[in-house]
């Protein structure tokens, strides 16, 4: 079945430094949708980025990611971390665009940004 592997555990970094969270996936589908969800403390997971286009950079709120089907990757990056970026980040995969398809989540990466 589908699977998503992402940077595990806690990533601690200093405000202003770059952030990179790795995400790779496995699926039999040739046109998967990849997502990054962010979950702040006591909040719902919220969509941060999504993509289904190979080699096209997608950006939102200072974060960016590029889906590379050749390496089955969708790494999340930000050039300068902010204190408010401290949260749980989930990479997720969906087989297609059709309503009703499930999301397969990675284990989640906790990011802690320190002053």
């Amino acid at each position: 079945g589908d699977s998503v592997t992402q940077t595990e555990g806690l990533v601690t970094l200093t405000e202003g430094l770059p952030v990179m969270l790795n995400c790779t996936y496995q699926t039999i589908y040739s046109n998967p949708f990849l997502f990054w969800y962010v979950q702040h403390l006591n909040e719902s997971p919220r969509l941060l980025l999504k993509s289904f286009t190979d080699n096209k950079r997608t950006e939102h709120q200072g974060f960016h990611a590029t889906l590379h089907k050749s390496s089955s990757s969708f790494h999340l990056q930000k050039s300068s971390a902010q204190l408010s970026d401290s949260a749980l980040y989930y990479c997720a995969l969906s087989a297609s665009n059709s309503a009703g398809n499930k999301l397969t989540f990675g284990i989640g990466t906790r990011v802690l940004v320190r002053p």
Binding site: S44, L47, K50, A99, K102, L103, T104, F105
Partner: protein
């Protein structure tokens, strides 16, 4: 905007008893509702996917007899955990989306403790 309300946020039940959780979509039509469980130290695992006017699809290791789901209209879904035991504890998350939309909107989850 689109919101998903999920309640209760926390619940404690005695081993062998049952509990029901509910999910309310506001601002969009919840054509598809997915119920996930996050057990301790694990990622979100899909329990079942419910699409209005279609049969509910349960994932392997999850059954309708254990996790009956109701999805009577485009704004509401509920799931019951029957005969809850220690292995059923965790955070239960509902995610809903509209037909043709790739974004899934999540509730804040129901945390189940079994004693």
């Amino acid at each position: 905007g689109a919101l998903v309300y999920q309640y209760p946020r926390r619940t404690i039940c005695k081993s062998g008893t049952s509990m029901r959780m509910e999910c309310q979509a506001v601002g969009f039509q919840a054509t598809s509702v997915a119920w996930y469980r996050q057990s301790p130290q694990k990622t979100f695992e899909l329990i079942a996917l419910s699409t209005v006017n279609s049969a509910i699809k349960y994932e392997q290791n999850f059954t309708q007899e254990k996790f009956p789901i109701s999805h009577p209209n485009l704004s509401f879904s509920s799931m019951t955990v029957l005969n809850a035991y220690l292995e059923d504890r965790g955070l239960y998350l509902c995610g809903a989306r509209d037909r043709g939309n790739t974004e899934v909107f999540f509730g804040k989850g129901t945390r189940l403790t079994v004693v």
